[in-house]
Each structure stands twice: as structure tokens, then as C-alpha cells.
């Protein structure tokens, strides 16, 4: 968690980084990214022919690169990009490159506790992961689905460590894929492995595995559940007790299983993206109780609300007593909290954010090309040409909105702190 306490929570609007002034200086600029605290705005810019850099609050990095992409900020508000020179790649942190360069680097992950950076890398067709400039000791034939613990200390990925020739379907079906944790592969191999999850303490990894072309199940640290299913989706660890749950497909439809035992009675046409409440006492999931009708179900109890097209981005309040999500019906996007849909349709909506005590919900939304933040169903009194995810202050009384004003309003990037009580309907 970022050190939000020390951010500037003074109510009101503050222009940051002179974005409107430096933007016109570049004939080529990619979409800007903003640090979590809203104090920095950065973008990949072209500084010369085939020469790119990152401009942060108007100051380009001193170093220039052949290519730069995947710009982001660490939790400590430090800009990071993947950069290349002479066809080799590395990570540049605040303009300073790591020492090691690789043939390709991708999928950067910023730890949410501390300042670790993890990424996937490839050199000479060997695949491995990097953390803070240190590569895994072992490399693999392929690597995907990279994940890291929140502190960045443990890294896992789906890897291939057995070879099979072109169109060699037999060897493939024997199992050539497994999971590597911190560079060490599990002993067991599978036909396929997807969607990993770390346990809360980082000591265990769960994966969705296919043990034959027809059998799907969950494996935890290389040991599969006793039962096989015709399909499963991504497993999740309980936040504290080490148990694993996953959606599983049974004869009558989808349900939820924990450690191989079905724990929900209902059968759904679809069930996925389940999340635990922070205390681990409840589970919510995106479900389709009937074909083509989508909603959230908490502890096997679907909401009454139905979306015809989509339900997505479910999120628990920090106390675990509320759930919010995004849904789509009739071509419009909506935000819903606790089985109640917010009236106004949007052209797009982002995952809602709860205040620390769960009493307020804020979400980023777009209508007619203008972005705003909607709090408890009512938009804040300001529209933007672009806006970032809102952040509540630790005491929940303030809301930080980071956005770029429309050209007509000056086009500046500003950081606007609202008093939550004044916003709520």
C-alpha cells in the first residue's frame, strides 16, 4: 500500500507538471501516465528520429532509447519504462537503466508493498524472469502468466521445460509445461498450465492445469486435486487459511470448489473471477445464473440485478460487507453496488473503488468522450479529457481525482482533492 498519509490532501484543484505547456513541444507523444499520488505526469515522447524518451513533468529523461514502451509508475511514484538500445532491452527506472540487457523484456510488475520491479525476459530463446535487475538462475523454453507476491519477493510463471518437435502431438500430450517459482520448476508436468495465484504468505502457488486433453483441475505446489473436471477457471487462495478455491464445471453447470470439494450448491451457466472478502469469510463471483443473464453472486446467492451483456470488475469493500462491480446492458456500461444499479448509463466504466470504511464508492466513467468520477452514483462537478482511477484518503474524508482538463478548459493536468461529504448525494 502506498504511503497515502503523506500525500497532499488539501482540498481543491492544483495544476501539476505544466502538462499543457510541454505537450505541444513534442510532435509525437503517447498517452500520459500519472503517478499514484498524482504529483507526476509522464509520457513516452519522441526526441529525435528513431529516438524516444520519457518526459516527466516537462523534463525528459537524459537518456534516449531506440524504443520505449510499457510506461508505468512504481507504488513509490517512480516512473519506469521498458527500453531498448541496439536491439537489446532492459528496464529504465527514473531514466536509469538496469545493468543487464536482454533480447526482450516485457510484462513489468510493480510490487504493491515496497519498490520491487519484476519482468519477463528472453535471451537466446531462453526464458526467465527478472526482479530488480537479477535474473532467475534457471531458464526455460517458454514463459508466460508471470505473477509476483505483493512484496515482489516471490515470482512464479508458467514455463515449458520439456522439448517437443514441430507437430509432435504425442509428446505435447505427455506434458511439457509446469510452473516455475523463483526459477525452480515443479516436478510434475501438465498438458497445459494457466492462471497462477500465490498464497497470502507467498509459500504456495496454485494453478489451473490440464492433465489430459479432457481433464482439468487445480494444482497446488505441484500436487493436483483428486477430482478432475471438464473445465475449471482461475484458482484463488483464501487470504489467510491456505485453502484454494476455483470455479469448476460439473454436469449441471458451473459451481465453486475448495480444495477439490464443491462448496456452492447452485449450478450456474457461467461462474468466474471469484474474489474473497478481505477477511476471507465471503466469496463473490461473476456469474450467469441463466444463459445470457449476468450478475454477481456472493456465497452462492446471486443478486437480483441482471446485466444482459456483461458483469465484470467485482470488488469488495475493505470491511468485506459491500460489493461493487461494473456491468453492461443494452450497449451501455453501468456501475452497481450491493445489488443496486446506478441510474446513469455510461459509455465505459472502470472498477469501482471503496472508501476505507466502505461507506462510499467512487468510479471512473466515460460519457460522450468526457471522463468523470462518479461517487455513490453522482458525478463530481468536473469533466476531464482523461482521468485516472480515484483514490480515497486514509481517513476516507477526501477523494483524489487526477485528470487532464479538456482543451477548452486549458488542457492542464490537475490534481483535485474533493471533500467526500460534499460529493455524496
Amino acid at each position: 500500500m502506498q504511503d497515502r498519509q503523506n500525500w497532499d490532501w488539501t482540498p481543491g484543484r492544483r495544476i501539476v507538471g505544466d502538462f499543457d505547456k510541454w505537450r505541444p513541444a513534442y510532435e509525437y507523444m503517447e498517452e500520459p501516465h500519472v503517478s499514484a499520488d498524482g504529483e507526476k505526469i509522464a509520457a513516452i515522447v519522441k526526441t529525435g528520429p528513431e529516438e524516444f524518451s520519457v518526459c516527466v513533468n516537462g523534463q525528459p529523461w537524459e537518456s534516449h532509447f531506440e524504443k520505449a514502451w510499457s510506461l508505468g509508475f512504481t507504488q513509490e511514484n517512480c516512473p519506469v519504462a521498458l527500453v531498448s538500445d541496439t536491439a537489446m532491452w532492459t528496464v529504465a527506472v527514473d531514466g536509469v537503466t538496469w545493468n543487464n540487457w536482454y533480447e526482450f523484456v516485457w510484462n513489468p510488475i510493480f510490487s504493491t508493498k515496497g519498490s520491487s520491479i519484476t519482468a519477463a525476459a528472453q535471451s537466446e530463446l531462453k526464458y526467465f524472469a527478472l526482479t530488480d535487475d537479477i535474473p532467475w538462475e534457471n531458464s526455460f523454453l517458454a514463459l508466460t502468466c508471470l505473477i509476483a507476491t505483493p512484496d515482489g519477493k516471490n515470482i512464479a510463471a508458467v514455463v515449458q521445460d520439456k522439448r517437443f518437435a514441430e507437430a509432435d502431438i504425442d509428446n505435447f500430450q505427455q506434458g511439457c509445461f509446469t510452473v516455475a517459482v523463483n526459477g525452480n520448476a515443479w516436478d510434475t508436468h501438465y498438458v497445459n498450465v494457466w492462471d497462477l495465484d500465490f498464497s497470502g504468505d507467498g509459500s504456495q502457488v496454485a494453478a489451473e492445469v490440464r492433465t489430459s486433453l479432457y481433464d482439468y483441475t487445480i494444482a497446488v505446489n505441484g500436487k493436483t486435486w483428486d477430482k478432475q473436471y471438464s473445465c475449471v477457471w482461475a484458482p484463488r487462495f483464501h487470504p489467510s487459511d491456505g485453502s484454494v478455491s476455483a470455479p469448476v464445471k460439473l454436469a449441471g453447470g458451473w459451481s465453486l470448489a475448495r480444495n477439490g470439494e464443491v462448496i456452492w450448491n447452485r449450478r450456474y451457466f457461467q461462474l468466474w473471477h471469484h474474489i474473497y472478502s478481505p477477511d476471507g469469510n465471503s466469496i463473490a463471483a461473476v456469474t450467469a445464473p441463466e444463459f445470457g443473464r449476468w450478475t454477481i453472486a456472493e456465497d452462492d446467492q446471486p443478486w437480483n440485478l441482471r446485466f444482459n451483456e456483461l458483469a465484470t470488475d467485482p470488488v469488495y469493500s475493505p470491511g468485506g460487507d459491500r460489493i461493487a462491480c461494473v456491468g453492461k446492458s443494452g450497449g451501455k456500461w453501468y456501475i452497481a453496488a450491493d445489488d443496486t444499479i446506478w441510474d446513469t448509463p455510461n459509455d465505459m466504466a472502470w472498477q469501482p473503488v471503496f472508501s476505507p470504511d466502505g461507506s462510499h464508492v467512487a468510479a471512473k466513467a466515460e460519457r460522450d468522450g468526457r471522463y468523470t468520477i462518479v461517487v455513490d452514483g453522482r458525478p463530481v462537478d468536473e469533466v476531464f479529457a482523461a482521468v485516472m482511477q480515484p483514490v480515497f484518503s486514509p481517513d476516507g474524508r477526501r477523494l483524489l481525482v487526477k485528470g487532464i482538463l479538456p482543451e477548452s478548459a486549458g488542457g492542464q493536468y490537475c490534481r483535485h482533492v474533493f471533500e467526500v461529504d460534499a460529493l455524496a448525494p
Partner: protein, 447 residues
């Protein structure tokens, strides 16, 4: 047009050696087949299977709808109902009590003698969906492990990489950046926006584009750039919209692939999916995968490239500088014409971009299949000769358009491209084949 060797019929070459079919069948016993088939009929053999099995009066109206039948001197075994008779009808009549040799033959019929193009459905008075029945056989073949080697390998690629061509995560991104760099030689500030959250358009392609036809990504970038579109592509798996699992009968994997594809688009908060010129991928995303996952229609609007070209031309977002000179003809791909009714939309684009347009006869919903679709081309080299010979009618159709002056065949589908290319070569038709994007790119004002 070269017609030598044309009398040799595909049907007489039954049981082409495919190592995976042979091996798969060798591992089977009658008991295993019986138990798998009866279970499949019990769990998945629904009302359509019953209705279609009972409604067919063996009238033969479907025969002439099928290019395999027409191209093989009207071999009755290749009429759609004839293929049903040899496969699903036997399984139903014997309640699944068939042997490994039967499954081998059924596999070859369902995988290589039917393109699932659904033309016959338009000629059957009862609207019997023979493609559905052939897919049921393919599903059975998948369950029994009797699937042609090359398409099974492609299904493996899908499961391991979420794309059709074993393209690894880094190779995909690298290809996009390479194409962006190439395009910058032509248009200095062009961009292929990777992972741009909140873009209007999620653009997805099939695995063969980065693998073999990367210039198509380049061309699309130019088209997007010129039209001022706000678009993006995913750096994560989900960038590929193709799906051979739908054709091997591995519907669990089809569902997974489509989930990953839709979720890449929703993760990036895009409003609609535009996809490249591919037919089977469109079918998979628009019509098959969504249903398996629980969506009546795709959760995000699904726009085929043709519709996108239509839109930007019609709204004046791009201008045509010089119309394409050579006379063209247009091949209507089954999955976006019978599958989406885009025939007039496509003709609008052709009309706006080309000087002379010569229709193939028949055309629109009644066009003949390319012979490659439905996963047939993906069954690979062992079946190539048979495939090409099994579509002599297509060669005749193209030759007729050529005799009216057509020099270029436009086929807005990858499979059709592959299929037509083989036909044009084998029958020495001397025609050129292009995507609509090739034409658009060549003729449009680029900046």
C-alpha cells in the same frame, strides 16, 4: 485452365495416411468407442441432432450445394446427406456401436470432406444444418483422440500460447514493434498502440498474421492512422482471435480462447472489437465462443474488418486517391457472408476502391466455398491434393470470372486466401489474390 488429373476423385483416395488418425484409432477399442459415443449422445446430442436426423427425407436437394460433390464428378458419397449417411446416421442407428476403422473414416469425412460452410443448409428444404452434424462427429473424434495431426497440433498451440501459431508473448510484441518501425519509414509518427487503456477499438488478429503476414498489421496500422481511429492491441495473450479448437471439436478450449480474447478487450476498457480479415475467427468470436460462455451475442460489439472499412469510407475518414486499376472479382467467405451478411458491405468497399468489378457466379450467400475453411486446410499437407481436387468447381467459377476479365481475386479471409491460392496454382489460373486491406492500403490517401 489446366484440367489435367481432374478426373481422379477425392473420394476414391479414402483413408489418406495421417499418423495421428492412425495412432489414435489404434488405441481405441469398440467398448471405448461405444462408451464415449453413447455418453456424448446422452449429454450433448440435443434436439437438433434428433430433429435433423429425423427430418431428412433423402431427397438429394443438398447434393449440388456442395463443392466436394460437384468437384468429384458428383460422387454421391460427397453429397452433404451422403456424408451424414456415412457418419452420424450410422452412429445413431447403431447407438454408438462402431469400430476404430469406422471412426477413422468418419474422421476423414468430417474433417476433410466438409468445410462446414453451410451452403447446403440453404438448399435443404428443411434447413438441416449439416455443419452442426459434422461438428458433432468432430466432437466425437476429439473425445476419442482421432484427429488429424496438423490441426491437433494447432489446437495444442492454442492451448499453450492462446494463439494459433505457437507465437510466444515476446515474439508477438516484438512483431508489433517491428511493424511499427517499418511503418515509420513511410509515416514518421505512426504508432501501433500496445496496451492503450480506454481506446475505442480493440484490434485483434489471427496467429498467422504476426507469423507469416506481418505486413497486414503494418497496413492496418496505416489504415487506422489515416482514419484517425483510437485503437489498441493487447500485449498479453488474447490478441489472437483465431480458433482451430472449434474445428477439432475441443469446445472447452474454444470457450477458454474466447474468454481470454474478450477479457483482453474488456481489461483494456475498449468499446468494441475490430478484427482483421479472417472468417473462421469471426465465426468463433461472434457465433460460437460467446454461446459456449453464456453470451447470446458477443459482450462487446464484434466488427469485421470489412465493416470497419465500410464505416471509415462511408463517413469519409479515409479518402481513395486512385482507384485500383486491375479488374477484380470478389470471393464471399462463408463465415462473414452466410455467417454475418456482409456481402453488400464488402461490395460497397470494393466499389469505392476498385475501377472494375466482375461478379463471381454464383455469389453472395450462394458463393462456393474456398475449400480451405472449416479447418480443412489446417489438416495440413497429407490432405492438400485432395482438398485442391475437391474444389474443381471453384477453379471453374474463378476461370469464368477470369474469362470476363477479372485479374485479381479479393478474399477477405485468411483461410480463403490459402485455399484459393492453392486452387489458382494447381489449376494454373494465373490470377492474383488480395485482401481488401491490400487494395485499401494501395489506393488510399495515407496522411
Amino acid at each position: 485452365m489446366n484440367t489435367k488429373n481432374n478426373t481422379e476423385t477425392g473420394a476414391d483416395q479414402k483413408q489418406i495416411h495421417d499418423v495421428a488418425i492412425e495412432e489414435g484409432a489404434r488405441r481405441l477399442t469398440r467398448e471405448k468407442i461405444h462408451s464415449v459415443l453413447s455418453e456424448l449422445i446422452r449429454t450433448e446430442g440435443g434436439a437438433r441432432l434428433s430433429a435433423y436426423s429425423n427430418a431428412c427425407v433423402h431427397c438429394g436437394m443438398c447434393s449440388e450445394a456442395c463443392h466436394h460433390y460437384l468437384s468429384n464428378d458428383r460422387d454421391p458419397k460427397l453429397s452433404p446427406a451422403g456424408k451424414v449417411k456415412q457418419t452420424i446416421a450410422v452412429i445413431m442407428a447403431r447407438k454408438g456401436k462402431v469400430g476404430p476403422d469406422f471412426m477413422k473414416k468418419a474422421c476423414e469425412i468430417a474433417f476433410t470432406e466438409c468445410n462446414l460452410c453451410r451452403r447446403c443448409m440453404m438448399y435443404c428444404p428443411f434447413g438441416i444444418d449439416v455443419a452442426y452434424l459434422m461438428l458433432f462427429i468432430r466432437r466425437a473424434c476429439h473425445k476419442l483422440g482421432v484427429v488429424p495431426q496438423y490441426i491437433q497440433d494447432t489446437a495444442h498451440s492454442h492451448s499453450a500460447t492462446m494463439n494459433q501459431m505457437w507465437v510466444r508473448d515476446d515474439e508477438w510484441i516484438d512483431t508489433l514493434q517491428w511493424q511499427e518501425e517499418e511503418a515509420r519509414d513511410e509515416i514518421p509518427n505512426i504508432r501501433i498502440p500496445i496496451e492503450k487503456e480506454g481506446a475505442d477499438i480493440f484490434y485483434s488478429v489471427i496467429g498467422p498474421e504476426p507469423k507469416f503476414r506481418a505486413q497486414l498489421i503494418y497496413q492496418m496500422a496505416v489504415i487506422m492512422h489515416a482514419s484517425g481511429a483510437d485503437w489498441t492491441m493487447s500485449a498479453t495473450p488474447g490478441w489472437d482471435n483465431s480458433d482451430m479448437c472449434m474445428y477439432t471439436g475441443d469446445m472447452e478450449m474454444t470457450a477458454r480462447l474466447k474468454k481470454v480474447h474478450f477479457e483482453a478487450a474488456t481489461r483494456l476498457k475498449t468499446k468494441r472489437i475490430v478484427m482483421g480479415e479472417c472468417g473462421h475467427a469471426f465465426r468463433s468470436v461472434y457465433d460460437v465462443g460467446n454461446r459456449l460462455l453464456g453470451w447470446k451475442m458477443p459482450p462487446l460489439p464484434m466488427v469485421h474488418a470489412i465493416e470497419f472499412y465500410y464505416e471509415i469510407l462511408q463517413q469519409g475518414h479515409i479518402e481513395i486517391e486512385n482507384k485500383f486499376e486491375q479488374p477484380v472479382t470478389f470471393h464471399d467467405p462463408c463465415n462473414i457472408v452466410r455467417g454475418r451478411g456482409l456481402h453488400e458491405t464488402a461490395r460497397y468497399v470494393v466499389d469505392k476502391t476498385c475501377k472494375t468489378f466482375i461478379e463471381l457466379e454464383p455469389n453472395r450467400e450462394h458463393n462456393f466455398c474456398c475449400g480451405a475453411g472449416g479447418g480443412v486446410i489446417n489438416c495440413g499437407p497429407p490432405f492438400k491434393n485432395k482438398r485442391v481436387k475437391s474444389n474443381r468447381i471453384k477453379a471453374e467459377q474463378l476461370a469464368s470470372a477470369k474469362s470476363k476479365g477479372a485479374e485479381v481475386v479479393i478474399a477477405p479471409c485468411h483461410n480463403c486466401h490459402g485455399g484459393l491460392e492453392d486452387i489458382i496454382n494447381h489449376y494454373e489460373l494465373g490470377m492474383e489474390i488480395k485482401f481488401l486491406a491490400d487494395i485499401l492500403y494501395e489506393c488510399m490517401k495515407k496522411e
